[in-house]
Amino acid sequence: MLVYLIRRIGQSLLVIAVMAVLVFLAVYAVGDPVAILANPEATQQELDAIAARLGLDRPLWEQFAIFVWNALQGDLGTSFVYSESALTVILERLPATMELAFVALVLSILIGVPLGVIAGLKPDGLAGRTIMSTSILGFSLPNFWIGLMLILLFAVELQWLPASGRGDTVDVLGVPLSMFTLDGLSHLLLPAFTLALYKSSLVIRIAQAGTREVMLQDYVRFARAKGLSPRRIVMVHVLKNMMIPVVTVLGLELGSMIAFAVVTETVFSYPGMGKLLIDSINRLDRPIVVAYLMLTVFIFVIINLVVDMLYAAIDPRVRLSEAKG
């Protein structure tokens, strides 16, 4: 187990290093931030001064070396726009995005698992077929379009929910979170639902396939032979086995949820990391973009590690075989 863990962490570090090079090169190729930051009437001397202050006059490899050196000390650069540590600027937005992704994740489980189980128990029934064909919509409709439609319906027409922004927050362990206030939840609901829709479809598919497979297993037949109620069989025997693939896939998808949040946050003007990224790209605020990408890679890697651990927690077979090896 320890060897396995160390190997996994080693792999993760390698991924982060490779990403650092790629991210730095890619971002360096985008536009000239000095031109945007400076007054349009600025002289060449003034432009050079800005470039020198930001370190943009040095050769590429030197900038990279400085970037790596600083990054190792937890400094991912200073935002050109906010004149603050890029990491600090992003971390301020992190709770909003994490919260959005988390609520979306919970929604996609709450929507996807029951529907998937219903469809899996009676795959040929009307309900099952309707659920499965509707779930295709969830896959194919574009995220931003769904967001706009939801805004039109619930915010503009019905005026039930706010169209944009983030609601009131309360501090939980020093982190400002909005999902514990009514106002915050009402702001979260539409963007979270938008973000959850695609994942719900995914969960429905996995849950349906999982339920069908598990229902055919000998242990379900034995459970029935014991005289258990269908309710107990589904809620205990089927659900627990079926959740293994669901948790695996959803855990891996949490990362892409954060990435998808870029579009959703922009549509809903939700002040999270994703919106910050789009704004920063528009303003050529390189350190923010670099810091965002590095942080995302880091989060991905952590999530993958956590999923592996979680997987072991649900499935005793994994837990025990790894304990031995």
Binding site: A223, A225, K226, G227, V236, R317
Partner: protein
């Protein structure tokens, strides 16, 4: 005469498949008394499992019980609602299955899987149910049962898992236990152990035992009577010693010939030639005719009816082999023996 605890009459189970309606079990009848052991024997595909599942009301679509009656302790099960059957399953009739590796839920602890079997039928405390589960494990020979209750199935060997399944099935002292080839997947020495253990447990509680197997030798010394199935029908039935000693039906004789025996060591097994028939393409006469060394013209056109013989025996064959004495057919049968 006592009423048998399990009374199956003219059971017919059909499956609607793409090739049409398949009759997997066709007119099967048998009765088992309390404490009695019946072997249900036949090659793979002969309808043994379907018969066993039907007794528990576990035939799922596209299958259905098309006709017949199944009575457990004189209560008719055919036609009962799913809810009523739930009350019977695991309480009056229990079943264990072939593959011990897949019969227990891999993600639930043993205590969960045993306690739920008790609490599905009785309102007892978690603690009391747990104690009963522990005692049941001890009874099937699982060492340190208290600790093993907290284990997961993958922490047990195949033989131990089947013991857990047996203990679970017997938790509510069922009137009938259907054991569907529970030792086939296991080591030969463990097979014999488990069979005699189950038999002892059933004898203790008066549970009627239906032991399904494709291997006649497994039940030779243990069962009281045997029913031999071929293509969905019982082709021969009777007390196990008599049937083994003097089989009436050529198929039974073939099965005995394919049983490895100690005095014939080194001699290749006499396999029954040919394949088990496709149920959707059964010949009009005797289903065994294409493989039978004793078949005559009537065999190919007339389906043999169930014929009773002395000593509580019966068979479905136009040319019975070794008919018990005092039957007019006996001599005729001997003449036909090639």
């Amino acid at each position: 005469m006592t009423t048998p605890v399990l009374d199956v009459r003219d059971l017919q189970v059909t499956f609607s498949t793409r090739e049409g309606l398949v009759t997997a079990v066709d007119g099967v009848s048998f009765r088992v008394d309390a404490g009695e052991v019946m072997g249900l024997v036949g090659e793979s595909g002969s309808g043994k499992s379907v018969t066993g599942l039907a007794v528990l009301g576990l035939i799922d679509p596209p299958g259905r019980i098309a006709a017949g009656s199944i009575k457990v302790k004189a209560t008719e099960l055919v036609g009962q609602s799913e809810k009523a059957l739930q009350k019977v399953r695991g309480k009056d009739v229990a079943m264990i299955f072939q593959d011990p590796m897949t019969t227990l839920n891999p993600v639930l602890r043993i205590d969960t899987q045993m306690i739920e079997a008790i609490r599905a039928h009785e309102q007892v405390s978690e603690k009391a149910a747990r104690e009963r589960a522990r005692d049941a494990l001890a009874k099937v020979g699982i060492p340190s049962p208290e600790e093993r209750l907290n284990a997961y199935p993958n922490q047990f060997s195949g033989g131990m898992r089947q013991r857990v399944a047996i203990a679970t099935a017997l938790l509510n002292r069922p009137a009938v236990l259907v054991a569907d080839e529970p030792t086939t997947a296991l080591d030969v020495t463990i097979q014999a152990q488990i069979l005699s253990e189950v038999q002892a447990l059933c004898a203790e509680t008066g549970t009627a035992l239906v032991w399904i197997t494709h291997d006649l030798s497994v039940i030779a010394g243990l069962a009281d009577k045997v029913a031999v199935m071929y293509a969905g029908r019982v082709v021969e039935e009777g007390p196990v010693a008599d049937v083994l000693e003097r089989p009436i039906h050529p198929y039974t004789a073939g099965l005995i010939g394919s049983v490895p025996s100690r005095n014939k060591r080194g001699v290749p097994l006499a396999q029954i030639p040919g394949m088990t028939p496709q149920l959707s393409k059964l010949p009009p006469g005797c289903p065994f005719a294409p493989r039978c060394g004793y078949s005559t013209d009537p065999c190919r056109t007339i389906r043999p009816e169930r014929t009773p013989y002395p000593g509580g025996r019966a068979a479905r064959c136009h040319n019975p082999l070794d008919v018990p004495p005092n039957t007019p057919k006996a001599d005729a049968a001997r003449e036909l023996t090639p």
